[in-house]
């Protein structure tokens, strides 16, 4: 999908639907299976599997302590999958287009730029994470809670330092606020179909089944 506006819209309505009802979550999952190239997404972002395990773990605790864990895990996993799809489809610079299109040259430009920088940080974080794991393995450190703490510290520290450097560089280069930018978008038939299908799925998930199938009253 090429149009970031449609992609963000789809992700927002499908995530909302999945969050509020289990029917919405199933509808969002069907959409994800049809439109997101599921295997490509799962292959590209393998970090999704430990997160799914974590969600399942907390769901089991919820189920044991008060119930509702199963529905929670289904909804959260589907929201996660939608997020992963959105991340995989991201093209460098498109949030700047989207931000400026939505809110103009000042706030929109800044929001778009912030989003772009955040996405860039995510890419760096994922490569840093991989190298930290490799370095720890070479050192004979086993992957677990104890190794998670130093990993987290290094990642957070590195991200903060890079953000600090970027802010200083921008200030040195004379950046104060906003900027001029002409947003451009490419909309394909797949974007339109995906958007319409997502809308239909959400509507269906919120309308009771009896409204569609007139059985007997």
């Amino acid at each position: 999908m090429q149009d970031v506006r449609i992609r963000i819209g789809i992700a927002a309505i499908l995530s909302g639907a999945a969050f509020f009802t289990i029917e919405g979550a199933l509808a969002a999952f069907i959409w994800w299976l049809i439109f997101s190239h599921p295997l490509k997404v799962l292959k590209k972002i393998r970090v999704v599997f430990p997160i799914i395990i974590m969600i399942v773990f907390f769901s089991i605790i919820m189920e044991i302590t008060g119930g509702g864990g199963l529905a929670y895990s289904i909804r959260m996993i589907i929201i996660l999958l939608i997020g992963m799809w959105l991340y995989c489809e991201h093209q460098t610079g498109e949030f700047l287009h989207l931000g400026t299109w939505l809110f103009g040259d000042r706030a929109g430009f800044e929001l778009g730029m912030l989003a772009e920088m955040a996405m860039q940080s995510l890419d760096i974080l994922s490569s840093d994470f991989l190298q930290i794991r490799q370095a720890q393995e070479l050192k004979g450190v086993r992957w677990g809670v104890r190794s998670l703490i130093p990993t987290g510290i290094i990642l957070v520290h590195g991200t903060l330092r890079r953000a600090d450097d970027a802010a200083e560089l921008m200030a040195v280069r004379g950046y104060t606020r906003g900027g001029t930018f002409c947003p451009e978008f490419t909309t394909t038939m797949r974007d339109i179909l995906g958007g319409l299908f997502a809308l239909c799925m959400v509507i269906i998930s919120f309308v009771p089944a009896s409204e569609f199938f007139i059985l007997y009253r």
């Binding site: 490799q134 370095a135 720890q136 070479l138 050192k139 450190v141 130093p150 510290i153 290094i154």
Partner: protein, 235 residues
């Protein structure tokens, strides 16, 4: 006790990333190997491949009789697992006092490694790595962030390594340890320039000082600062 024949054999190795590819062929025997190349030529990727941390697209990398290996990554913070320098040294199974002395960090044992400067952290990492007795030691840009004094200390320690394979990936141009063989990555291919001093004649990315010495007919025996000085003073 059987004599080990440690070597790495690269057979038709190919690596590829976005808009970039690398082919490699050859054998790295016991000794110190220098692999140079331009920025972005694939030195770090090749380092990971030699360590078995990045799979080649095709071909085979065989590490024969290598039972212990270590990689020093370009960014030293990746290796940190301790919250103090003392703890960090212990996490490598080493005596903190001797490592901190080697890294010129005595008196900082209670400091958090993350608070050190990049150069200090690099010295600490290299001191930890070089204290180990690995069959295969891969150093990715070991001299980056170090001052001349730090580079000289590291080169001295590297020259003292008596066994195993040491592979140094660098674009360093001034201070080197004693090297046995020079390789370089050029036009997407790993080229074996041979043993020293013969390799210096074919070394494309050779530092200017070495190129000047060769053009003046003064071929240094090796590339340590002492060897270069000896060649320069030769009449």
């Amino acid at each position: 006790m059987a004599v080990q024949d440690v070597k790495i054999v690269l057979t038709d190795v190919q690596a590829a990333r976005k808009n970039w590819s690398l082919t490699a062929q050859g054998t790295l025997y016991e000794g110190t190997h220098l692999i140079s190349g331009a920025v972005g030529s694939g030195k770090s990727t090749l380092a990971l491949m030699l360590a078995g941390l990045f799979p080649p697209v095709s071909g085979q990398i065989k590490r024969e009789d290598v039972s212990t290996l270590m990689v020093s990554f370009q960014y030293p913070e990746y290796h940190i697992t301790g919250t103090t320098l003392e703890e960090e040294c212990s996490s490598w199974g080493l005596d903190p006092f001797s490592v901190l002395t080697a890294a010129n960090l005595t008196g900082k044992k209670t400091e958090n490694p993350i608070k050190l400067s990049r150069g200090e952290l690099k010295m600490l990492l290299l001191a930890c790595v070089l204290a180990g007795n690995y069959d295969l030691l891969i150093l990715d840009e070991p001299f980056s962030s170090l001052d001349c004094y730090g580079k000289e200390r590291i080169c001295k320690r590297l020259s003292e390594r008596s066994r195993g394979i040491t592979v140094i990936f660098t674009h360093e141009q001034t201070i080197f340890p004693r090297i046995d063989r020079i390789w370089e990555i050029r036009n997407g291919e790993l080229c074996d320039r041979g043993g020293l001093p013969e390799a210096l004649r074919h070394w494309y990315y050779a530092p200017k000082v070495i190129k000047n010495l060769i053009s003046a007919g003064k071929i240094p025996k090796n590339i340590t600062p002492g060897d270069l000085l000896e060649a320069a003073c030769r009449t």
